[in-house]
Every structure is written in C-alpha cells, then in structure tokens.
C-alpha cells in the first residue's frame, strides 16, 4: 500500500529533514520497516528494542491515534496519510 507519511519536528532529522515522504506497507509496522530500510535509525525514534511503540510519540492514521486502533498492526489502505508526532515540551527552558 502506498501511504503518505508526515513527520513533524525532531523526527525530521532522521529522514534527511523531509516533512513528508512516501512509504509502503500493509500495516503500520511494515511501514516503519520500509522507512527504516531507507533511513536507518528511524525505527528507534518510534519503538523500543522489543518493537513496543514509545509512549511519548503518537502515530495517527489519517486523524485517528493508532493506539485506539490496532497499534502497530493497524492495517493501511492506498492513499492513507500517517502522521508521526512526538510530544513537545516548550514553553521553553533549559533542560
């Protein structure tokens, strides 16, 4: 399935600064694998070493949070839009 992926904020740095890219996959996990093949290090931004999605990064299929669907197993259709959205803290302060 050809899916458009929108990447916000700090995760852009691992995909060469792109805000939007095309990727393939029957579900979200496969989609992440597809991007990982081209941009090694991408998966680690979203998942831990056990394949569990980080709880401070949200992935939306169209406008729905995949945690409330089938998580990484959520099926994708041609033309879907997946958005990847990490939590932001600012305001702004020294860490």
């Amino acid at each position: 399935m050809a899916v458009q992926v929108q990447v916000t904020s700090v995760i852009q740095k691992v995909v060469d600064g792109q805000r939007q890219l095309d990727a393939e996959g029957l579900n979200v996990a496969e989609l992440i694998d597809d991007i990982e093949r081209r941009y090694p290090g991408f998966r680690a931004q979203l998942m831990d070493e056990h394949g569990q999605l980080h709880r401070f990064v949200n992935i939306y299929l169209n406008d729905e949070d995949i945690r409330f669907m089938q998580g990484a197993a959520t099926a994708l259709s041609d033309g879907d839009c997946v958005s990847i959205l990490p939590a932001l803290a600012g305001g702004c302060h020294l860490p």
């Binding site: 805000r19 709880r55 949200n58 729905e64 939590a87 600012g90 305001g91 702004c92 302060h93 860490p95």
Partner: protein
Amino acid sequence: MPVSIYIPGPFRRLTHNREYVSVEGTTVAEVLDAVNARYPGFDMLVYNRERAIPAHINIYVNNQEIHELDGTATALQDGDQLAVIPAVAGGAGAPGNGAVPASAALTPDEVMRYSRHIIMNQVGPGGQRKLRNAKVLVVGAGGLGSPVAIYLALAGVGTIGIVEFDTVDLSNLQRQLLHQTADVGKRKLQSARETLAAYNPHVTIVGHEAPLTSDNAFDIIPQYDIIVNGADNFATRYLVNDAAYLSGKTLVDGSILLFDGQATVFKPGSGCYRCLYPAPPPPGLVPSCAEAGVLGAITGIVGSIQATEVFKQVLDIGEPLVGRLLLVDALTMEFRTMKLRRDPECPLCGEHPTVTTLIDYDQFCGSPPLVAPEPEPAAVGGDS
C-alpha cells in the same frame, strides 16, 4: 421637527464635547442619521454591522426605551428628548447572557475600551462581565505565556495569575512579548506585571513567584477557573495536567518546538495530557527549545490560539478544542487536527485511576528538579 438628543460622555469626543445636540427628524432613525451627518462616526457607535442597535446601547425617548416603543421607527414630536445610554443594567434581564452573576454594570470607560468585543453578539455586555469575573492561571511568563497573558489582559479578564520564578535573559527577547530590552536581569514576574499594567491597569495580576510543585499546586490551581499551560518542561506539564484534572479545572494546553506547535483543551472527563502522551520521553531525547531552537512567531500563533480557547470557555461560545489536537506547521503553514480520546486505561482519568494525588514529577520524568535562581539578576538564564 427639532429634537434634542443627549450624548453620553464616552461618545462626546465625536461631538466636540457637546452634551446635547439638537437636530431635525421625525423618527429615531432619522435623528440618529442627522447626528451622524453632523458628526460622522456616530453611526458606528450606535449601530452594529446589521444596522441594529447593539445590546449594550439603550436609546430613550423622553424616559422610555425605544424597544418598548417602535424601535428606531419610533415617531417623534416637537420638543421630544432623546438619550443614548451605553450603560448596562446589572442582574436579571441584562442583555447578553442571563447566567452572569449579578455584578456592577460596566463603566463607560469599560464600554469604550472593550467596545470591539461588546458589539459582537457572542460577547455583549454580559460576556464582558463574565470576562471581568474570570480568573485564569497562566503557567509560565515566557514564549507562550506572554501572548496568552497579554491577550487576556487586553480582553479584560479580571484576574490573571502567573506562575513564574525566572529572570529575564537576553535570549528570551526573540519571542517573549512580555519582556523588553530594559527588562534583562529583572524578575520575569515583575516585568510581566509592568507590561500588563501598561496594557490594561484594570486587571488584577496575581503573582506566584516559585516553581510549581506537588507541594504548592493545590494551593494555587483551585483559585482559578481555567488553567493555561505554557510550561517549558515535561515535569511541569504532567504536574499541571494532574493538578488541573484533580481540581476539576479546564486546562488549555500548548507547546512549541522548532517550527511546530500543538494545542488542545482538556476538560475533566474528556481526556488529559496522559491520554495523549502516556509517558514523557527519556531526558535528552526530545530537545528543549534552548537546544533545538524555536521560531519566535510560532509562540504568538500557539499562544493566541490558547488565549482564544480561554475566551471561548469563559463566554461558552463556539466549538472548543476539546477532543482534538491542533497541529501547526509554520513551514508549510498547514493546520491539522487529530482526534484525541480519553484513554480508558489512563492512570489519571481512566476507569481505574492509579494516580489519585500528585506525585514526584521530576522522578517521573527522570529530570533534575527545578531550582529557583537567587533573587540577584544573573546572566545565566532559563528560557521559559
């Protein structure tokens, strides 16, 4: 036929300070037109865009309000006395919203100052008094807190609380509207007070000059109706979320980084920050604005959205940003909304809560505790 019309104080700048004007006209509308012909601009004061008399203006013929007569079509007799009164009656029967607690009428100065709000049907004098009675807490007087506090003060929100313990740093001035060059080294709270008082001396600014902690949050948050989060770190963000939920308060949340912004409104029962992001990132993984940078103007965009949501909450108008997460991308200038749901498994607001009081948020976020700097202005600055 000649008719005398009384011009109220706030409108007399148009009539060269004349208290009474004598014009010709056979109906109220004709008289108003005649006054406008002589003093252009008078129209804008007594009519709204639909060319109706707005709710905050009463017009009397002799001593009778024209709504009880034939409105602006009311016929006039030679020697009739007209009066235009922008004052607002208190209590029941007030125009606008009947839910407003009885309180003093707006002063003529207030009517003029807030006239661009009051002439809108969604606000009216009743709405303006709701704003005057509102108590809103702004967490942080930095990038987001600045536009939020300024717009709330301009709108006449009667009580604005500010939590801030930092000092103005030169690097703050790229985006933090409350502070100016001469304020560098000053306490941010002091600088914020001065700026807001200059904008609107009629609002009360309540300062809380300490880091918000699990020990003081329940002393501060319950004093307010609405909480606005402009916090600059995850520990404070989760603390404000939990304290607002446990106090039953609506939380208007916003955050920014680089060219991106996020905003949403959490009402108790409709989801919370923990439903959106169940856990904070490990320290160092998501950089702060100090490390990664932030576009100054995005703080204005997101802060103005937060102020707008407060305004809507106080006035109970429109569709609040509840159950939706607004994403702003300044580079593509795209605004998108994602669905935000209450998570039944949420440890705070879910079916079986395990967070029932405030916890140690520094430990939860793995971050060192915030320490208030010494009162002496120091060159080292935070960036909040």
